[in-house]
Symmetry: C2
Amino acid sequence: MTLTDTRVDDSYPTRITGKPEHLPRTHPTVWGNEADGPLDAATLANHDTRGYTVVDQLLSPGEIQAYWQELVRMSSQDHRDDERVITESRTGEVRSIFDVHETSELIAELVRDPRVLDRARQILGSEVYIHQSRVNYMPGFKGTGFYWHSDFETWHAEDGMPAPRAVSCSIALTDNYPFNGGLMVMPGSQRTFVQCAGETPEGNYKSSLKEQRVGVPHEDDITKLAAECGIDQFTGQAGSALWFDSNVMHGSSNNITPYPRSNIFIVFNSVENALREPFAAIERRPTFIAGRDSSPLAR
Amino acid sequence: MTLTDTRVDDSYPTRITGKPEHLPRTHPTVWGNEADGPLDAATLANHDTRGYTVVDQLLSPGEIQAYWQELVRMSSQDHRDDERVITESRTGEVRSIFDVHETSELIAELVRDPRVLDRARQILGSEVYIHQSRVNYMPGFKGTGFYWHSDFETWHAEDGMPAPRAVSCSIALTDNYPFNGGLMVMPGSQRTFVQCAGETPEGNYKSSLKEQRVGVPHEDDITKLAAECGIDQFTGQAGSALWFDSNVMHGSSNNITPYPRSNIFIVFNSVENALREPFAAIERRPTFIAGRDSSPLAR
């Protein structure tokens, strides 16, 4: 019997059994240029270097209000047995709702809004589609953060995303202070792929959406990367947006303040980077977490 | 039989069974004036209003280094069965060591240093003694924060401190960023005594030093106070000191960054405010937590 190796070339091996290493990223961060959209050359160059871009006042005060009401409406619906609704382990409060560009008309419009869609197309240098969408509720007092991770590490391992040609847009619906659990980013870390140790357990996504146990970098790797890159924290008023590369190392602290931290989170993937089979997991994750319809998003 | 009520007058009733209320503070925040010490009139007025004062570069780089080595030395000693050493519930790592002005020569000198002692005397308007001293180790990655609380609420209830005529001095031995668990303070909150609900269980201090369960304000009270006062966060370089009133509402988030946050923490109490019996607990806490030798500290 002859076995044919049908595996595709994997530039980003992870969930390994040996000692994790820091691999150089072999793909660009910014794929388009100034002529392709609303971001100017300096902003694109900065995004290429630091792996993120902040856009102040992407939403108007009236829009913030409308989206906030939409979040309240969605979280107050009956969501028992709805896999797309993630609750806090300890309190049962709604933490995130996935697939909102499919279930909310308002958010379906938002992902096609030129302020959003054109920036995604420009950074990725192609037509794009939605890999994932969600709204995050980080309630005051009890909001738990997320430990350091690269999104791409998970999307590659568990969703079969070939290359880090995806970009996330996080739109704040509440003011982000330094002390209510705002996102921390290691600028420039997107240039390095940090391997993670350990095999992916079956059905891993069910617990990993609350707290990640696999796909977590080793403390030594985080220390090394922080020494190289430093740490920036995203603060800003409601309505501001943070665009960040799929492979940038990021995390957040818990939130003991009375101020909630809510946002809309949209992941755009290039249509030229459509998902394959998972690179380091037995089965695909559900499509509400990792969309597989890669037809171009149209206005 | 006639019962004589021997209880002293209690202006700050707490650990109550009914609904907690916000009581006005009946005592001053600043007891001395400009002529009494190194703080100028404007700084004292600001301390009176906001309940805290930051002193940059209280320690020189060389001193920071010496104290850091002292902390390393203390944490690496054999501390099994030493009640004064508090460890993290989850990891067993050293979180705090109490009574360090008695066990470390360096820290015994520090509490008598004019830069420290004269400010304490000035704010409290009298001779002072040490109510509590400790070093805090908040390791990177796994450091857990402290929920909102007033120190005086506990010192009054469990230690019998009559009035909020005490001031804390926290000296940073590591840089405090907005994102590595730095202290959050509600400026002006020292003017309000927030009652806490619930009786103090016996031996409460053993668990409360890791995570407080009694003496914790209700979320509604924190929300109300934050709306009135706002939240400030203490950031600053190693060597800077934060002086804060015993009744100011404060707390800290966890620390997932690789950067530890360590400090020396000294509580000065006025010799005119010596401890009595606990106002809302059955038994006194040990003297390593609440010193009962109120003889004036001398250089």
